[in-house]
Symmetry: D2
Subunit: 338 residues, 4 copies
């Protein structure tokens, strides 16, 4: 819609799993008065689309999806892209323990709502040692246990199979000091096809000292687009270690700093580069993008959605028109050359 | 400077022909208090610099120079670039003939000041038939004739040799209907080395019907970074042809629409995409970028200089921090999962 | 509505002639969900309202109405007012004669739509001598002649009686050189009560040299809130005289400068201070305030309606909160007193 | 300067005690190139100035001074004023006790720097009971004791005599529970003339329950433009009482909320209307207006200084120019009248 608002004629391609939905949306828009020639819609695989882009040479391409494809497209299209990249999103709990029930509930929603299938889902939780002493994890587990297939508070995972998730969990549990906090089992009594994933909401604990190690880092920070999160804790003096871990992440979509301690907020926000960042005791990772800018930061290709500023950045550009209509000063004469 | 204002630590590379100037500027900045660690400076050829960029993987690279290198860099750096590209800049005179002396003087300055060695220099001039009936060209020629080596109103051309320019002129004169308006001769009585160019301010007329032809187009719109311009004219009903020629240009840096006719301004500005565009009877192509945004338009990689908005676009990015400190509503209770 | 958007609790008073309409609007708002306690509504005469304001001492009062009452209120409330004052609105036609039919039609609508009962209605028309030579006045008269009671393109005048308007016309016709252009007669065959006005669309010509005279000025620039306008013309060299006339007017609500001549627009706009000013060949005095700021200029008490900026100016104010949360610099020590 | 930046021709009047300073400043400005006709300067008493204003009828008057004169001027000039009114400025310390030395030092500077002769000086200090238990007052007293005539950290009071200040202190000490905390004595061994004040930095404690009483309120909140402050304390549950006291003040210039407790800041800032408000542990009342907007809030006559927004609000106004140059739609025809 942003592309249309700015007067572009976009060509739209969505993942084939959801193209039937987009097809209906376009028909609705036509019904509401959108001229049929204003937007083109294509159903194809990625390879065909890539070929089309190379030939059509569009002025701008907005890509939402994996970092790998994003980088290929950026090179193919010589940088004429804006990217809304993948999200291994982190949440960090600060030293001030307050409102445990609320924080636990937000963690449950951030990690497991929509079975964790949001680009802003909580992928890793860092707890300050003050929080580690509370019953927060038990509370998160209790909330995860409420979830069930019957009311769709858990559901099928579209892009990762049950086997792949279980294998990922197994690999994590090889790391010294790691342990399964809850979940880790397939869903039962269901008719979800094998090509999808079906697993209980899961959390795995990994010690923060292990996460930072080179041989563990890529494994721990691999995004699982499903009901899965890593949980860890850190001592006060380990905050620089946590900030190192955050700095090494290559995608910087959303984040949450859960604290009302002004100096802690300054420290963490000032030393990280994530895009949409929720700060404060009620901070979450999966917010309400209709209310604010949503997008990554720290990359000139970064796109944004949700605000007039974001739409203008992505779908328009600055053009400077300088009017100089005169009149000439009275008695103007030709000056010397320069 | 923009990169520094925004808190980046830039690595600076300039063309080796001018690196001694930049070296002195940096020493001046250090003398004025710039911490020595705030900016790095490298002297190298382009090949070495390209290798360095690939290894260092900087978050952002601003490139000012030729479109060819720009496209290679954009691919190499996967789009993490902003570009200030080359300029084959056009000026179009509208139907309302006024202030001939002034317009002639601006044409002379735009095309030949600094021997035409500005990225915003006037490369082609489109005259409405009403202007073609005036003595405008004679006036431009008279102004060009004032220029001489003694007072440096003409001077050496750094990047194109005399022979290359003369050869270019010869090729243009093969086009049917084209003719040399003035200039076209080497400078005399000078000690400018052979590796530089030394030529009188030159204008070649090419009929507008010929410019648009595929076999002439690339030749006519080739940028000569020296005291050289194409001049043509168009009839009222040929304006769409002129707009076609402008649309086909691939670099869109600056432009001028010289007219106070409101509807003509609307037509030309609305159907072109150039960046910094001067409109009105006093319109020029080489303006005063300290007063306004200067940069191309119509490309998501486009950079800008000269205004706070431009500096922020190129050297910073939007980051959204949403504070949600609470307090919780009184009597808040855990809601159902979703 | 603006007052409510900004979080105020307004007390609303409208003229008793229209209070029944506002009563229904409030009931509609309540029906749509406006809490009943959010806005108070009072029906009273002006005297009672004045007393109420003095006792309640509201932080801000927005007054729309005559300049006389506005000045009294401003003094009574010690300046805690914003004013949307009366409008003796002018239109000036520039030297470039184009699109006569269109300009005539806009004049007819500006002066006579809603029987001239808009605060932005055209009260006086200044024609450049080039326009005076055309058939513009004949065209305006033809359009006025189309208006009739049957389709309500003329109607009753709420605040001025027929007799008062006729008397005003008679007084104007005493001025040397003035003449009735058209209209000037009561409507016939109607049942409009005597307390209202009922008159044909009317235009009176007064020479511009007479308007500027002290003994005529107040008479000519008296606002008649009905289907009535003054028309005059001026020679090129009389433009300063016209600008003097405009400068002397005390209310500066709306205006129109009908010309596409860039220098004429600069001259007139630069030397006048009216608020909402329409410029260009399609300029009108009665625009579409839903699209732009509508209000007077040149007075610190001036209010505006129709845009977020206007609403914020009138119904809110700037408050500066400077957060300085620390932390202190390490090793901070108490400095000497100052 | 703001008036000049916006293109006005101001008439400047300052208090006669400082007119010699302004005279020199104007001469400096002329020396630097200010055209002599750009600003007028008058030396007169207030009565003469009032007469001048009534006759000259300026479009805008900015008044900085007492609320009494401000209200008279507002009425005389029918509201064409902007006001920078007097300041009985408050500071409130929140529940989080931190950095006692720093807070004590800021209190000393806010109350006694320049002998308290700033419109933003701290006039009353509200301490949370947690602060009352600390040695804060002792620390403030120690800092006050450092001040001495020799190094001008105390000095003459221009507008209040020693006797008047002592009499004010005496009246305050009649209030049950009030006491002199420190100071309250004339300076000794000096040559300050009798018409000025000469008194040690002074603080008087008054119980918060007494301040709110009608018969004490005006006395306690009377501004003394000298080295004098009221100090009080409040229990957690007395915060609404404190907010009531703040709400009743009629001038709302600056304020400070000294706390890093997010919910306390929300509560106090949300329920007060002061203009320039410093929030956070390092909050002060006398800030650095060159860095931010400085001015009152909550009054449509309120002026601001120090930022482009403030200068534009006070010395300029919004004027809306709507360009509508056409062209007309093809085949346009005159529509029916309305």
């Amino acid at each position: 819609m942003g592309a249309l608002y700015m007067g572009n004629k976009p060509l739209l391609k969505v993942d084939s799993k959801v193209s039937i939905v987009m097809d209906q949306l376009l028909r609705l828009l036509h019904y509401c008065g959108l001229p049929e020639g204003d937007v083109d819609f294509i159903n194809s695989d990625g390879k065909t689309m890539n070929k089309l882009l190379l030939e059509a040479n569009p002025r701008m391409t907005l890509f939402t999806g994996s970092s790998r494809v994003a980088d290929k497209l950026a090179a193919d299209l010589k940088g004429r892209v804006k990217l809304e990249d993948a999200g291994f999103d982190w949440k960090i709990l600060g030293p001030d323990v307050q409102e445990e029930d609320y924080v636990a509930w937000v963690c449950d929603q951030d990690a497991y709502a929509c079975s964790g299938q949001k680009c802003s889902a909580q992928s890793i939780l860092f707890m300050h040692e003050n929080w580690a002493k509370t019953s927060l994890i038990t509370k998160i587990q209790d909330l995860a246990d409420r979830r069930k297939l019957e009311d769709l508070t858990v559901g099928p995972v579209l892009t990762v199979t049950t086997g792949a998730i279980l294998e990922h969990i197994n690999q994590l549990l090889q790391i010294p000091g790691s342990k399964l906090l809850f979940g880790g089992e397939p869903l039962e009594n269901h008719s979800i096809p094998q090509i999808y994933g079906a697993i209980k909401p899961t959390a795995v604990y990994v010690p923060v000292e292990e996460i930072v190690k080179d041989n563990n880092y890529d494994l721990v920070t691999k995004e699982i687009f499903g009901p899965f999160q890593i949980i860890t804790d850190y001592k006060k003096e380990q905050l620089p270690l946590v900030l190192d871990i955050l700095e090494k992440m290559h995608a910087h979509l959303t984040a949450a700093v859960v604290s009302n301690d002004a100096h802690f907020l300054q420290e963490v926000i000032g030393k990280t580069v994530n895009g949409t960042t929720y700060a404060g005791l009620r901070g979450r990772t999966t917010g309400a993008p209709q209310n604010h800018w949503f997008g990554p930061a720290g990359d000139p290709r970064g796109a944004g959605i949700g605000t007039p500023e974001a739409i203008k950045l992505v779908w328009s550009c600055h053009r400077e028109i300088i009017y100089d209509l005169g009149p000439l000063p009275k008695h103007w004469e030709i000056p010397p050359s320069t």
